[in-house]
Amino acid sequence: MLHEITLNVNGELHIVPVKSHHTLLTVLREQLGITSPKRGCENGECGACTVLYDGKPVNSCMVLAVEAEGHVIETVESLAKNGELHPLQKSFIEHNAVQCGFCTPGMLMSAKGLLAENPHPTEEEIKHALAGNLCRCTGYVRIIDAIKDVADHS
């Protein structure tokens, strides 16, 4: 069954017909062309599809698109403003926190959600916040360093 809903994504309103069973991830990627949230498991286990949902990180594969109406959705596409990278993005580049890059958008959104709630987290708090975002390349070391660096200098 199709539902016409309005999604607030990255500050823009999109009126979009969605199927009842389609997830927010599917609608973002396949109907809105917003492809930074990645499809890694579709089961809420890998975190590659993490977006901010009213400011909090969620797995967009675990949210039905129809549920997302009326909520504020943010993806990596919204981080850079006026051509200027977000401090987290800059820090990820400086710390070589990126390898294959597939987990990176989800990591950035989890990090942004963490810092919004807790601007000066400890290393343990950062690790805890990233526990749902899997990365097979980096060993997480540089990702944690990059987030810590932003927290320490804000």
Binding site: T35, A131, L134, Y140
Partner: protein
């Protein structure tokens, strides 16, 4: 272009792909848009590990509205394979592992394809499966490939038709016969350790699951979009398997969301191409679910290893006998070459005068065992590195010192008869022992915890055919920026960044002037690259990039020298300007590299657009004797390294906490030191994780843990408290600036280093992987009970 990094080789410049990756601009295959003409496909998997296919009935599935086509083994009559041509793209007569593709359904949506796939009716006659590689190698084991004698394979592979053995590599060195090492040699040994080790299959777990899109045009041109470490090898296999010209096959590979060997060779891609053939003109997309990723794509092989090593009272290792049986799965992809690599490197990084090694790849009714980071080496080092520790223990020698004495050194005649190229493994051992306060007992953090330290060393050669080639092109733009073209892939290791660094270094321009025009790698436009595997890219692609840049540089210098009436040998390029050391004249590259230079009074011009091309292929690898594994040069080179680990074991839970991993690798020359460090760090965590991973099957061969909940990989919570890395640089003779690869080596010996540290902490040893808290807990308590 504010920042200008001149002479970038050896400097930690930022990754060339980082900006696009942090902004979400990078496109992976599933991000590409194909428009409303896109169809979707689903594979029908075998529900049996070993069975004869009696009948396939697709009529009910075909009747589902929206289904466009269904293909089966009937449509794929040709055998295909990377080394052994042993499989049909869709199973025809027989299935050999649970999950093997039997049919492919194409429909207008993924949901319809999935529903229709459930309606494909296949009648099977179930056969006895065999899962354990050692059992499968026995004469009375159920035979998986009765037609093996008909298969084709390259001349350096030695299968044994009539058995399940698809490769048997024999290594004989010193006083040894097929029966074993001379008993007199064993009699000289003060200590002998003989053990059997078992490792389960494990999965790469790239965060991007396999996905492929294929389109078969009416003109006969086939295009495949796949996240691939091997676009050119896939083109080659598809052309062969489908019987069409190479020029008609185009493989396009944008960025890869994690490879680790799992996206090398070929897995589902050929299936998707065949499905697309059935709906010509329409692109067809097939995406593996995470569950399918576990059992329907390639995995790391299992291993049964029986190894005996002896040393004299002074700690000199005198003899080794080893038999490796790799569980190759239902078909070979890289499998036979993994067993071969484990055969010609069967001693690990040790000089041992008397060696009998037999390395087998064995067909088993499990998912296809293929390349995974360091293939063959993590598996064999698990046992070797624990035996070396036991020997040191038995003769009362420090395990680090034992390794210093016995490890391979430059110029040694190694097991195959080859002279060891320049490396400094002793320095690697020194670095890691220093980093970890080796020999210093340190207290655990709580009374119920035990603390220990362990060490392990490794070697690995790029395991590949003797002659894999690389090529590269550099092309100047009007403003003297340069586009570099390679066919190598960036799978996260930083290949594009080092390609840019190398080109800039040779051309005398800042790093920031280089663009790497390889995204996507496209076999129609990119220069040839064999595959992005074997930690060979920095070395092999690097040599090709250097040659291409030199080709361009030579043209520039010749043009300017002629223009100035000077000798090219007196000229150089610095920071984008040609300079003469003789006349001190200067000529910026800008404009001249495309438009050339005007003669006096504009009476004619000289030069023209500068394009350089270059290639590299090792030409010196020799054949090995099939009965002894001896030959002048078995491999191109080895990378060596050491890891030392400080950890605590919680005796109340069996849980292990890694306090510190120290790693040191001899990379020849770090082209980008910080990128080397990120490999060392990521590899240490991957290696640690692998010690706790395993794929588990039920008695019918069905995978019991095909999810990230039941198959756990390391999370941010699990990483060592401290990860330390050291880079050793002993230049490689034919490496660019002396560089050799390190991408795989960084996880090879982590598991045995952990096991040795657990032994140091608890006095308990483990012969089989995976380690688990339960297993460790039980072993510690069993030992305590024994002691009481």
């Amino acid at each position: 272009m504010t920042k200008q990094t001149t002479d970038p080789v050896g400097k930690s410049v930022p990754r060339i792909d980082a900006y696009d990756k942090v902004t979400g601009a990078v496109q992976y295959v599933d991000d590409l848009q194909f428009g409303p003409g896109l169809y979707y496909g689903k594979l029908v998997h075998s529900p049996h590990a070993h069975a004869i296919i009696k009948k396939v009935d697709v009529s009910k599935a075909l009747a589902v509205p929206g289904v466009k086509a269904i293909v089966t083994g009937e449509d794929t009559p040709h055998r295909m394979g990377l080394y052994m041509q042993d499989r049909y793209i869709f199973a025809r007569d027989r299935v050999r592992y649970y999950g093997e593709p039997v049919a492919g359904v194409v429909a207008i949506s993924e949901e319809i394809a999935e529903q229709a796939a459930k309606l494909v009716e296949v009648e099977y006659e179930v056969l006895q499966p065999v899962f354990d590689p050692y059992e499968a190698a026995q004469p009375d084991a159920p035979l998986l490939h009765p037609d093996m004698a008909e298969y084709q394979w390259p001349p350096f592979i030695f299968p044994e038709p009539g058995t399940n053995i698809s490769e048997h590599f024999k290594l004989r060195k010193g006083k040894v016969t097929d029966e074993g090492v001379d008993p007199e040699v064993w009699a000289q040994c003060a200590a002998i350790v003989e053990k059997t080790f078992r490792l389960p299959q494990i999965q790469h777990v790239p965060i991007e699951p396999h996905v492929a899109v294929a389109r078969w045009d009416l003109s006969g041109e086939v295009t495949l979009w796949s996240p691939s470490q091997s676009p050119f090898a896939q083109r080659d296999l598809l052309a062969q398997g489908l019987g069409i010209p190479h020029g008609n096959v185009r493989v396009i590979s944008p960025y890869v969301g994690g490879g680790f060997g799992g996206k090398a060779g070929i897995s589902i891609e050929a299936n998707v191409v065949v499905m697309a053939k059935a709906v010509k003109g329409h692109p067809v997309k097939v995406r593996m679910t995470r569950e399918e990723e576990f059992f329907c794509t390639n995995v790391r092989q299992s291993l049964y290893a029986h190894t005996k090593i002896g040393c004299d009272k002074d700690g000199h290792v005198l003899a080794m006998e080893t038999a490796y049986y790799f569980g190759g799965g239902g078909y070979n992809d890289y499998g036979v070459n993994i067993a071969r690599a484990a055969g010609y490197s069967c001693t690990g990084p040790y000089s041992i005068p008397n060696v009998k090694g037999d390395s087998h790849s064995v067909y088993t009714n499990t998912p296809i065992g293929s390349a995974m980071r360091g293939f063959g080496m993590p598996e064999i080092h698990w046992g070797i590195e624990q035996i070396m520790d036991r020997l040191a223990d038995e003769i009362g020698m420090d395990p680090a010192e034992f390794r210093r004495i016995n490890c391979v050194k430059t110029g040694d005649t190694i097991l195959t008869g080859m002279k060891m190229p320049a490396v400094d493994l002793v320095q690697c051992i020194d670095k890691v022992t220093e980093a970890i306060n080796w020999g210093k007992e340190e207290p655990p953090s709580a009374p119920h915890k035990k603390r220990g330290k362990g060490i392990a060393i490794m070697w690995k050669a790029p395991a590949m055919p003797p002659n894999p080639g690389s090529s590269a092109i550099v092309r100047f733009n009007e403003d003297a920026t340069v586009n570099v073209y390679v066919g190598a892939q960036d799978i996260g290791q930083g290949a594009f960044t080092v390609a840019a660094q190398m080109a800039a270094q040779v051309l005398g321009i800042p790093y920031e002037w280089v663009r790497v025009s390889v995204n996507p790698v496209d076999t129609k436009y990119s220069p040839y690259e064999w595959q992005t595997v074997a930690s060979r890219i920095t070395w092999s692609m690097g040599n090709a990039v250097r040659a291409a840049a030199n080709h361009a540089r030579t043209q520039i210098l010749e043009i300017v020298a002629k223009y100035w009436d000077e000798d090219p040998a007196d000229l150089d390029i610095k920071n984008g300007v040609v300079i003469s050391y003789k006349s001190e004249r200067e000529q910026p590259l800008k404009k001249m590299v495309v438009y050339g230079l005007p003669n006096e009074n504009y009476e004619g011009w000289q030069g023209g657009p500068i394009i350089g091309s270059g290639k590299f292929m090792p030409t010196y690898v020799t054949n090995l004797d099939p009965d002894t594994g001896q030959g002048a040069r078995a491999v191109v080179h080895y990378t060596v390294g050491a890891q030392a680990i400080d950890l605590e074991v919680d005796t109340e839970t069996g849980e292990v906490e890694i306090l510190k991993i120290a790693s040191a690798y001899d990379v020849g020359k770090a082209i980008n030191p910080d990128l080397v460090m990120t490999q060392i760090e990521g590899g240490a965590v991957h290696g640690m994780s692998s010690a706790f991973e395993g794929m588990f099957f039920d008695e019918n061969g069905r995978l019991k843990n095909p999810s990230l909940v039941d198959y756990k990989i390391a999370t941010a919570m699990d990483i060592p408290k401290e990860i330390h890395g050291d880079i050793v640089e002993t230049p490689l003779e034919d490496g660019p600036w002396g560089a050799r690869g390190v991408g795989e080596h960084v996880m090879v010996q982590t598991a045995p280093a952990i096991a040795n540290a657990i032994y140091n902490a608890t006095g308990v040893r483990f012969d089989d992987l995976p380690l688990s808290a339960e297993k460790i807990y039980r072993a510690i308590h069993a030992q305590e009970e024994q002691e009481q």
